[in-house]
Amino acid sequence: MLSKPTKMLTKVSIFIFIAIVLLASFKSHAQSPKLELFDSNGAPAGPAIILKSDANMTLTGLINHVVVTQTYQNENPFAVNARYVFPLPDESAVHAMTMRIGERVIKGQIDKKVEAEKKYEEAKKAGKQAALVRQQRANMFITNVANIGPGEQVIIELEYQEIIDYSSGTFAIRFPTTITPRYHAISGEVEVSTQNQTHFNSLPTGWLSPVYSIKSSNQNDNVPSSQFSLNIDIDVGLELVDINSKFHNVDVQNTAFGQYKIALNETNAVNRDFVLEFKPLQKEQAQAAFFTQQFENGDRYGLAMLMPPGDHFTQTQRLPREMVFVVDTSGSMHGQSMEQAKKALFYALSLLDSDDSFNIIGFDNIVTPMSDKPLIASDFNLRRAERFIYSLEADGGTEIQGALNAVLDGSEFGGFVRQVVFLTDGSVSNEDALFKNIQSKLGDSRLFTVGIGSAPNSFFMRRAADIGKGSFTFIGSTSEVQPKMQQLFDKLAHPAITNLGLSDESGNSLDFWPPPLPDLYFGEPIMVAIKLNNAKNVVLAGQTAQGPLSIKLSTQNSSSAQGIAKLWARQKIKSLLLYNEQNTVKDEVQELALTHQLLSPFTAFIAIEQTQIKEVAEQTAQATNAVPQGMAMRLPQTDGQSRLHILLGCILLLGFSALKINRSFKLSRARK
């Protein structure tokens, strides 16, 4: 009866199938009814606010002018106050705010932060509609909107300008859409729950309680909790090639020569930073640019971009290097970020020369060096390093301080170049203290930061690299590791142009920011905002490995552009805050910010609707950000399949013995 093997096979597979189905259905049936999914806080959900966010960028020359529109829609049957913590690009100079309620348009006024806060509180208590925008840190802002009536919509428009990135022949625009949750080094806490922040007066002072929604990651498939759209108008007067959005789908339209319209073509795009890169068709045309802005009172500001000729970098004798790789292995790096970091490290090792020496240091809340002393890049040591990298695991908090202490001690090095490559997502909150520390301990070393993950804290890393006289590289996905690390190593391998300075033709120093200009690496342009008095020419002087470098730029044949004064002021504020104690420069920064209508740590935009008195809202709704893509602080993965494997193994073995028995049965019959 059971003579055909096919028949046998069918029977065995049917048996296995039934067994699996029975097992699965029985198990799930037996367990599911007694458990329910609910919020682990057990708290009822707070008042909700629907937030829509749009960004419209207009790119002219090197300046990107952006209007961010935030629409707050109150879906509750009662009035609420709204609060939204949101990121903007690192160097953005926010210079205007407008509140729209229906037909009414209220222009925001810049004021001292304390004053603005006071006005806002008063308006809020009086039942007036008001909006307050403050800068929490250089790349993070807070909007507060008071008394949004039931079913009402309030629109807040913010305008900012930034200089776009230009490096190795490629322009890049970056727009952050979410915030990496920060590790609080001061208390070592994981995160403060956003649920606790529903009251205005619980705002953190100085230390940041970041906001990210857990809900949105679960609901991603259905309704994104915040909607986002982005449009870019590019008018650079150059023919562009390779317009390329790194992590999002975009539509590109070429409307006229040198003009492009780009629109985000994705509904759920808020969990990772937006990056758009493009290249001019002919690289030579992008080698120098000069824009000026003339004011009626005689003030003149200039923005210069200059790409030093490539031959200043090549053909130089190469000094041996000591490379120290510092890699963040904290819990926030878990997952994709850690994989990217490891891949970057492996690739970096493969680029070392045999006369280089190196060391690898992993850190979370403890520092784990691979070796006490730097090692020669021999085959043996490289293999040892590879094993060390394999064993790294992301766990624990980010105590960057300890890692910095381990690599920077302020010493000078003769005969070789010491380069520190720092790979991290930069989830730290005590940035200012860290910058001071780097500045005081840098010595002769150079600090290069590599940002890892889908939403790294690039503000921290960019500034750390500024102070560390190195450069910042952003790796957004695993496929980018190789080209980006290659670029970085090209920079590392070629000596920089140092001691850069600007003066007019008679040698008088100009008021330019940032001073001193950072060292310039291969493929990087100088980007500097200058206050030009009556200078006709600007002379850039620097020191290369072959000798002094001097380049003259004429201010006469520059094109005029808007907003350069604001960029100059923004750079000056940044530099003042970066290299000084906050208290000592507070007045100067405040003055600058008020004159140039800029948001700064000491100024805020306030808009108050005076005419209408509304119901006073009693609750504050927190608009939330999406969890960064690939973001960790995952709870441990603990599902084992050993029981299933044993069961399946047994079934297969049963099938095997059934076959055997069948065969011996047949054999014995055949013998008969």
Binding site: L35, M633, T638
Partner: protein, 201 residues
Amino acid sequence: MKKWLSAGLLIAGLGLFGHGAYMQAKAWLAQVLIEQAWQEALKSPGIKVKPWYYADSYVTAKLDWPSHNKTLSVLAGASGRNLAFAPSQFLPAGELGGKEFGNEKGSLIAGHNDTHFAFLQHAKVGEAFTLQLQSGVIQNYKVTGIEVIHQSQNSFLQTPGLYLLTCYPFDSLASGTDLRLLVSAQMSSPDSLSGISTTSS
């Protein structure tokens, strides 16, 4: 044809069975070694005792759950490697010991749902268990809640208490689930210990 089929069945069957049995055996054997290390650790609190010389973790506590007849030693660091050997303490969360030790955050112990923490599927609210710290202190806990959460929901760690965590559902056919079974426990007063131990046995 038949020969290939039977050989294939044999190899696959042995492979799967072997792998499953190996995981179970590893989980069980390691507990024996870790238990020895725990006895060592109790003698010298303050020293991090490794269960075997090349281990990259150390023993931190011992769980005793009489109603399920479970005694488990706990390792530090909830990495995949440690979890194969023992339930492990999730280090980014709070220290073990709870409020008495000035700890305002919840502490979390995770374990595999097919070995050490498989018994959690039968745990009930109100059950009592003890946690022994390396200082020798034995703390009494009572289960206050059992819930299923998504792996990204970690806000419960803001509330002090001891949390036991394992993947959910149990005996799932697919791996890599995003759901977790969370057993919350709060410290109960020490004098209730005698009462509980009699009722639970």
